[in-house]
């Protein structure tokens, strides 16, 4: 078995076709007839554009407009006056067209690669593709014809370039294996758009596989099974069918409201860790963001981020969401999340120590700059503030007082913000569950963080294999805690969400519907699944299941029973 990165979901079973790279070697020579060489270069550009245009047409038919645009981008790049001008300048200095193209392309490839920015680095792949295309034309090398691949082909190549993708006939290609590429590379995006399972970054795939041999590509985990036996083929064929069936079903839920079988609507949000993740939330059909973790702004650096830096990040996420709600959780450091420059002392028991809201309230300048940044961003969308690890009403009061101070500062400086910004509590400690009635009096909303709530209620660390068996959100104690939090919120008429992993668990969903949760916040890939699972239940059915569950005395009885009803 070979192992790479799963970049496009699904299972592909077929025969290998190796796409070898053509040699694009040449001997640089000095040219004397500069006019003729310029003509040769311009001719190659024209031909490149014609080819690319034809490929874009093909890909528009097979895949879609968005993917065709990647190729049309190649034309825009090669027609860029700066690029063409620089290449022609080198030719005018007696260099041959091949060498001029190679040098200028290399300059841009290096420049883009050096930015360290994902999207910009992908442009480096575009320039490489253009360079190879132009060199092939200049050297008269025939490009490989992927369009001739027979049905049931698994493409194996070093790198899947957009121009290669253009030749792919969706009905014939069942899998893709490459030696390079990440989940966000063009190869991955195109493979997903074509709905072809893909394993990328499989080391030495070209050398290890040979044309014609049978393989199974598992696009979920990036595994490539070589020489599969009949049992494996049967197993994966069944998996493949189940996957395709589920994909078809899930797509029916895209663009629909999130509602249970009675038509009661819920908010279905996403959890994100960076502003860029907001794009994923949006693409996944999330209706907003229920948890924006802000730790990324503080990690992997040597000093605190400025208010402006934070403002930029929050505003960026908000603009991407185009007015959909964005719940920003204030800094949750300490515990397992270490930030060296804060100089936090090593603690005996960090999870019960100086972390999250406790640290922030003792470091008011830092906390206030974060709150001001969030407030400023609130002028650009529906932003809400959430405090983590609340265990006592005073913490919420102090936090809210700081929000009021920050508002007064901004007002004095004439800076816009949302006057009515909501301030909520992440209920994730046993204490917050027990005093949920008191907190609900003063909070604008609750969001249940089930990961920590389970850990703190059970006093069990899920990373410790000796006590891990205790760590379950289906423990009667945790379920009672969740029910209490939701009930207290509903009694006060405030919204209550769940942003822990349990919110996406099909077995938890009927309980949450029955308890009266109003918002689910899950990882982007879970959005459609959760919408589908919510739609399955009427309130009456969910109540019946919940009544039974709350009557059991052990976690095992509860999960055994729930497994029979989902």
């Amino acid at each position: 078995m070979l192992k790479g990165i799963g970049a496009s979901e699904g299972i592909g079973i077929g025969r290998v076709m190796i796409i070898k790279e053509q040699s694009l070697e040449y001997t640089p020579k000095e040219v004397t007839d500069i006019e003729a060489e310029l003509e040769r270069f311009r001719g190659s550009v024209d031909k490149f554009c014609d080819n690319t245009m034809a490929q874009a047409d093909a890909i528009r038919q097979s895949t879609g407009e968005k993917e065709a645009e990647i190729l049309l981008g190649h034309i825009a790049i090669i027609r860029d006056p700066f690029m063409g001008g620089e290449i022609e300048n080198l030719i005018k200095a007696n260099q041959c067209a091949e060498s001029a193209v190679e040098q200028i392309c290399k300059m841009f490839i290096d420049m883009f690669s050096a930015t360290g920015d994902d999207l910009t680095m992908q442009r480096a792949a575009d320039v490489k593709d253009i360079r190879d295309g132009l060199l092939s034309i200049l050297l008269g090398v025939e490009e490989v014809k992927i369009s001739d691949a027979p049905a049931g082909t698994v493409l194996v190549c070093k790198e899947l370039t957009p121009s290669m993708t253009a030749g792919i006939k969706k009905e014939n290609i069942v899998g893709i294996i490459t030696e390079t590429g990440s989940k966000t590379s063009h190869s991955a995006i195109l493979a997903r758009a074509l709905e072809i399972p893909a394993a990328l970054s499989v080391p030495n795939a070209v050398a290890q596989l040979s044309s014609g041999e049978q393989v199974i590509v598992d696009g979920d985990n990036g595994e490539v099974i070589t020489a599969p036996d009949q049992a494996q083929i049967d197993e994966y064929t069944a998996k493949r069918e189940a996957f395709l069936r589920e994909r078809r079903e899930l797509e029916n839920y895209r663009g629909k409201a999130t509602a249970n079988a009675d038509g009661t609507e819920y908010e279905l949000f996403c959890n994100i860790g960076t502003p860029k993740d907001a794009v994923k939330a949006d693409d996944a059909d999330g209706e907003g963001v229920g948890l924006f973790r802000t730790e990324f702004l503080f990690m992997d650096r040597s000093s605190l981020p400025t208010e402006d830096e934070q403002f930029d990040a929050y505003k960026q996420a908000s603009l991407i969401l185009k007015g959909k709600p964005l719940i920003i959780r204030t800094l949750d450091i300490g515990g397992d999340k270490e930030i060296p420059y804060l100089g936090l002392e090593k603690e005996e028991n960090p999870f019960m120590g100086f972390r999250a809201i406790r640290y922030c309230l003792k470091n008011r300048d830092m906390f206030k700059s974060q709150i001001k940044a969030i407030l400023r961003a609130s002028a650009f969308g529906d932003i809400r503030i959430m405090f983590p690890l609340i265990t006592a009403v005073e913490e919420l009061r102090e936090g809210k007082a700081l929000v009021e101070e920050a508002k007064a500062d901004l007002k004095a400086s004439g800076i816009d913000f949302d006057e009515n910004i909501q301030v909520g509590v992440m209920t994730e400690t046993a204490a917050s569950g027990v005093i949920a009635d008191l907190l609900a009096e003063e909070a604008d909303f609750f969001s249940i963080g089930t990961n920590d709530l389970t850990g703190y209620t059970m006093a069990a660390d899920r990373g410790n294999s000796d006590v891990e068996y205790l760590y379950s959100p289906f423990q009667p104690s945790v379920l009672r805690m969740i029910r209490r939090i939701i009930t207290c919120a509903r009694n006060k008429g405030i919204p209550v969400g769940m942003c822990g992993e349990a919110a996406a668990n099909p077995a938890m969903i009927p309980l949450l519907i029955s308890f009266g949760l109003t918002e689910f916040s899950v990882s982007a890939p879970s959005v459609l699944k959760v919408r589908k699972n919510i739609a399955k239940w009427t309130k009456a059915e969910a109540d019946a299941v919940t009544e039974k569950v709350m009557g059991f005395t052990t976690e095992k009885e509860i999960t055994d029973y729930l497994n029979t009803v989902i």
Binding site: I70, G73, A76, D80, P81, T120, D126, V279, L319, I320
Partner: protein, 87 residues
């Protein structure tokens, strides 16, 4: 020479499509069009230069136009960026 500070509002920042549309629109002016960002100057008529600048959503940039039609160039450039570059 005229200049104006503007904030980029389209979600993906100055990337392939927005940069391409913008560079094309600027190409028709005789004046030079420069983007000042993070202490560097980028030729706004070159898609590749704009991409290399790696400008993200929410960033403030300064547009500088210099030449006979500088006012028209600056007006269109600012309007395009403020309206989200067609995204």
């Amino acid at each position: 020479m005229v200049s104006k500070k503007v904030t980029l509002v389209n979600a993906q920042g100055f990337h392939m499509r927005p940069a391409s549309v913008f560079a094309q629109a600027m190409a028709k002016y005789t004046s030079s069009v420069t983007i000042k960002f993070n202490g560097n100057d980028y030729n706004a008529k070159s898609l590749l230069n704009i991409i290399a600048a790696c400008i993200k959503c929410g960033s403030e940039i300064e547009l500088v136009c210099d030449g006979p039609d500088e006012n028209e160039a600056l007006a269109e450039a600012a309007q395009m960026i403020e309206s989200g570059l067609g995204e």
